[in-house]
Amino acid sequence: MRAVHDRLVISRLVHRFSFGPKPGQYEYLVREGVTTARNRLLRTPAHDAGLASVVDPGLVDLGPFPPSKSTARAIFQQALSQQFSAMTLWWLDRMVLADYPLIERMTWFWHGHWATSISKVVYPLPMKVQNETMRLYGLGSFAGLARAMVVDGALIYWLDGQLNVAQAPNENLGREFMELFTLGVGNYSEDDVKAVAAAFTGYRVTTSNGLVTFQPSVHDYSPLAILGATAPFVAPSLSDYVVSLDANAAFVAQRLWFRFVSTTTSVPTTLVKGFANRDVRSLVEAIARHPAMKDPRHAQAKSPVEWFVSACRALQITPSNLPSTVTVANYLSLMGQVPFAPPSVGGWPYDEAWLTAASFQYRLAFATYLVKNGDLSPVVNASNDVNRSLANWLGVAKWSPRTTQAFSEAQGDPARLALLALCAPEYVVNA
């Protein structure tokens, strides 16, 4: 029985704290057992050969928009979209190629948490700067991350913070800071929203590079009454104060629990207590060690990007090397999830939202494209126990009889077997 549990727990660890196994990895981790597997997956060594092989896109500051209808404008638009494509592939490559993907997984989590979209920011460079900030602080102190994010150019611009002045505040950033980033609904009043908006006044963004400057003449220096404290605040001191509140530990722990374990249950209070120091790494490790990881109720659907990245890892595909990177962008867009472009500041949907009839059509078509361009040797060289080989290849704990029946109908056709496995409910949903 232990072996069955081990397969489930390790499947969850490798799909949720990483982006799915590379060929052979799951089998190896199962052989080593849960403790060793967990330790391996939680490591983020300074040198990661996979990550080191991904070349930084080196985005340059494109400066202001040239006048409309000029030739320069057309060239400029092209440069913007080239930068966006390069940046997106750079990040997808990192997720796929990392030997120790936890830090990319955390960056992906924080991207959904501080959900900022290129749709309004327009310039890729500030989005890239934000992405690096989330990577830098991704497993560090949440206080440090929050302090960096409240002066992040892309976030400020996305939520109209650059328009927020003492003389007439714009509440957008202040409200979302408490509701979605630090405290959660119900832990602040409408007066707090107005006061936090005042604390966030005076920050100006250079849109092309995300550089943030503080302009004292439009900052509100009056003492502000916010959640029990009255003081003059600026963005970093406000952030520190809000993050120090107990509600912040509970909220952030719940958000991590939601994405790593279960969208339907509450984070255990022991984990919240352990997060008193706001150290994200200890919280993530505590979640990975929690007995809930073997609770059969806690299945989770893979989002389209998670599904795509895990498929690439299994098929040894480097996204930027695919013959048509436009095809990749199109499928991700059709499936509803393009990195750097969340639908709203609330971040990505979850679970059932990804499991629609329409998403099946796109998943099947996308998988067909990936299988055609991927390395099928783990399927070609499968042992006599094809079901077992496919499960080990993709890090699936166990196939259902329904799915093994489908495999048996595709016997002797590795491409078809791979396609069915990638679209099987047991792969699309991490048990």
Binding site: Q167, E190, S344, G346, A357, R402, P425
Partner: protein, 397 residues
């Protein structure tokens, strides 16, 4: 044909029948082939239009005659030349000529000041409240989803346009199908039979794995019904909402057995530079809905269709310093169609008696939903919204 016999139909016809349906069909053939159980004429159909971001109600149905309106909104109030007067000192944004024509035909109802007690200013909380119809208790099922729960299992019963499920359409036991906008590519041959094998129920499935499996079955069933229609008409519409409503119109005309459609449009979160952007957005809503109803007029379904348009909140009366508006409270809800008794319902909230700087709530959106459930979908609204016993009478029998 009932639910079970339809499944048998699919089982026996298989992929070859899917392929056969795509060839050289007239619209009449499509209507017959499109559905194993076409929706009987005269069956009411509800089309729900969700506007994401919080549409500025005051720049949609404009209290232009009230001087407080323009004085509160320097730079973003509509001038008298930018509005189309209706009655009671209220006017439509001048971009909404389509809605004006519906109004003149007595086919447009405008419910004024709609929200719920103690409106929430969060997009996500407020949209969740509108979509679940549950202001007091946080629940996960949408109001259309709960209606689906009481219907026989049929992936055609309610359909949303797009690929990601709208919470509105998720019930406790059933979900609506999502229909891809770009048309359908349906597998054939062994790929069809093998992927349909993945749609078989397995007792070992978790709830989510069962959902993933069911979505495959739903895809094949929906595809069998709608593919001929989608194939025969390429989308040709000016914007996202119009494209979605175009597909809906074609499918309704082909008698697909769908009672509820869901379409969406985003971009209404106008914290900055809102005047032109918001006018364009409400103009596109007005155009898309009006064109949709005009298309329906050319079919036998004209009297069957009712369109409901809502957003999660209105916006603050006072402009902010960015030529935009922050999150507010109540706003207008539109209901359009032949069976709609046109006119205003409820009172326009006062601009001088604000509640913490926001418009008062003068209508409860659940009265609108009750009317849709009772008078369009023929369902006891208290089953879907327990304890809610009032409704507006805006649908004529």
């Amino acid at each position: 044909m009932g639910d079970v016999s339809r499944r048998r139909f699919l089982q026996y016809s298989g992929a070859s029948a899917l392929a056969a349906m795509t060839t050289n069909l007239t619209m009449q053939d499509v209507a017959r082939a499109a559905s194993a159980s076409p929706l009987p004429l005269g069956t009411p159909i509800l089309v729900v239009v969700t506007l994401y971001g919080g549409n500025d109600g005051l720049n949609t149905v404009v209290p232009y005659a009230d001087p407080i309106y323009s004085s509160s909104r320097p730079g973003i109030s509509l001038s008298d030349a930018q509005v189309i007067p209706l009655a009671r000192g209220l006017a439509l944004n001048s971009s909404m000529t389509g809605f004006k024509s519906l109004w003149d035909q007595n086919r447009l109802a405008i419910v004024l000041g709609a929200s719920y007690p103690q409106p929430n200013h969060s997009h996500f909380t407020s949209m969740a409240i509108w979509q679940t119809a549950s202001p007091n208790k946080q629940i996960s099922s949408g109001w259309i989803g709960r209606w689906l729960d009481g219907q026989p299992r049929d992936p055609m019963r309610a359909i949303g346009m797009g690929s990601v499920l709208t919470p509105l359409l998720a019930g406790e036991h059933r979900v609506a199908s999502m229909l891809p906008l770009g048309g359908l590519v349906v597998p054939t041959g062994t790929l069809a039979t093998q992927t349909q094998q993945l749609a078989m129920v397995s007792p070992t499935d978790s709830v989510l794995a069962a959902d993933a499996s069911a979505s495959i079955g739903d895809f094949y069933q929906v595809a069998a019904t709608v593919q001929p229609v989608l194939k025969s008409q390429a989308p040709n519409a000016p914007n996202a909402l119009a494209q979605q409503l175009d597909v809906v119109a074609n499918l309704i005309a082909a008698n697909v057995p769908t009672r509820v459609w869901s379409v969406t449009l985003g971009g209404f979160d106008t914290h900055a530079d809102e005047l032109r952007a918001q006018s364009q957005l409400v103009g596109s809503v007005s155009d898309a809905v009006t064109n949709f109803l005009t298309k329906m007029d050319a079919t036998a379904r004209a009297r069957d269709v009712v369109v409901l348009v809502y957003s999660e909140f209105g916006r603050r009366v006072q402009a902010n310093a960015s030529l935009g508006t922050d999150h507010g409270t109540s706003g207008p809800v539109f209901i359009a169609g032949h069976r709609v008794a046109g006119g205003f319902y409820g009172e326009q909230p006062s601009l001088s008696q604000l509640v913490s700087g926001d418009l008062a709530v003068t209508s409860d959106f659940r009265d609108v939903y009750a009317s849709m459930l009772q008078d369009v979908l023929g369902t006891d609204a208290t089953q879907i919204m327990p304890g809610w016993t009032t409704k507006l009478n805006l649908i004529t029998p």
